[in-house]
């Protein structure tokens, strides 16, 4: 099993943290993992993206141009990465703020209304965990026990009181993900 993932959106949406939590959880499940961020001018006030690979085997290139899964959280990233999903791959996006929806027919496309859901949960900070939950629903690579350990390892101890809330957000994401064609 090798899963090559790109997560892309605005800086501040928790893109890099989501990738880190996923990678840490993968590591806790004895997988090989890599996390490669965009850094520099792109990150400063603009778009951010991270490539995460989770695999049973040694990971060759942490830097890729084709992905099994793209998790897209703004329009710029949609424009940039829609065509980088491998044929038969998966694209998950939050429709909030998307004006040009993805059009490919050779990949599976799902939406997760994470911005809306996290505001309903009165915590915009768990937005990224709602998205992560949506991903885990379709690709159950990591079991909840190791997700918990991933959160413990990634979050500083002073934020450990928020782990339960993050786990609730992950569960919520699993509930609300829908195929794109069901989107109103």
């Amino acid at each position: 099993m090798t899963e090559e993932i790109i997560i892309a959106g605005f800086g501040g949406q928790g893109i890099l943290s989501m990738g880190k939590i996923l990678a840490y959880a993968g590591m806790m499940q004895s997988k090989e993992v890599s996390w490669f961020p965009s850094y520099g001018p792109e990150m400063r006030g603009g778009t951010a993206n991270v490539t995460v690979i989770i695999s049973d085997e040694r990971i060759s290139s942490p830097i890729l141009n084709q992905f099994d899964t793209a998790i897209i959280l703004n329009q710029q990233s949609m424009d940039k990465f829609e065509n980088s999903v491998k044929k038969g791959g998966l694209l998950i996006y939050d429709p909030n703020g998307i004006t040009h929806h993805p059009v490919r027919t050779d990949i599976d496309i799902y939406t997760v209304d994470a911005a809306y859901e996290s505001s309903r949960m009165k915590s915009s900070k768990v937005f990224n965990m709602v998205v992560l939950g949506a991903f885990l629903k379709l690709k159950p690579l990591i079991d909840p026990e190791h997700m918990h350990q991933g959160l413990e390892k990634s979050l500083p101890v002073r934020h450990h009181n928020m782990i339960a809330e993050n786990e609730r957000a992950i569960e919520k994401g699993k509930e609300i993900i829908i195929p794109k064609h069901l989107l109103n």
Binding site: P37, S61, N65, K153
Partner: protein, 367 residues
Amino acid sequence: MSKTKDIRLMKGNEAFAEGIIRAGCDGYFGYPITPQSEVLEYLSVQKTKERTGMIVLQAESEIASIHMVYGGAACGKRVVTSSSSPGISLMQEGISFMAGTELPCLLMNVVRGGPGLGTIQPSQSDYFQAVKGGGHGDYKMIVLAPASVQEMYDFAKLGFDLAFKYRIQVMILSDGAIGQMMEKVELDEQIPRLTDAEIIKKYPWATTGKTADRERNIITSLDLNPVKQEIMNRKFQEKFKRVEENEVRFESIHCDDAEYLFVAYGSSARVCEKAMQLGRDKGIKIGLLRPITLFPFPYEEVARLAKQVEGILTVEMSAGQMIEDVRLGANGAVHIEHYGRLGGIIPAPSEVLNVLEENFIKSKVYA
């Protein structure tokens, strides 16, 4: 996975910083620059003074950093600095002085695109500077090229060991991609720092304070007597030869049955490993030779493989620097091409495979 193992997810820069602490480093002197600022950041929050007694100091510039390293090394201490390309250029005078005085130290360059301020994105365009000199005078450094976060950690200890074994400067030639990415790292036990008494015993050349039973130790690269200066230089050259004979390191993957060969180091080697897999999925027998030491370069292994394969593609994030050493090794035995991206762009695995196919396989039809 045994429970006693300390395994963490770390950035390359953080792994290097943890590596020097655990290898018993006495002092780090540096000045922040992207993409290696996490080294100083990480060391600063580690409270190294309490942990091991290690000094961590942000100097006023890169020039000051390297001369603090010079001073620490003269005392037989395990000292380090790190920077990125423009900062390393500033340090060249100090490095040359350390070569002229045979002082061991560990340096790391997390290479970014140049020339000048260039870009903060990853590059490998400082190969010539690291391998062929950099500063003035006839000298070489041992140059280690990590291709993973684990190697960023491991090479800290290896670098110190080699530096003191040969009284030589060891440069870890990394790049922005390896510095910024996170991977799994397995950490070792803390190695205690040497005590002053141990340093005096192990390193009789160090300036540790004159005692009655020996002459004064003088650290200088200056000798105006050309005869003596030549003797000194010959001694340096013999040392570099010993390094070439004993310290060549490389990794070869699928080279046994390879018909085509990638030669690449650092993050380019990772890209090539993926390209090799994509090629093998299509039935093209590709191997990968990854030099781990860039000086000493694995010339003999290149020579051996050059007789076996039909073509070599070197892949570097530069306009073609390491390819000169690959050509020296192959000595005309095989067709060699270079592929590189410049200015901070990392080539994609499919792109690299395409270039190999274009150069060596599709061209066969017309031959």
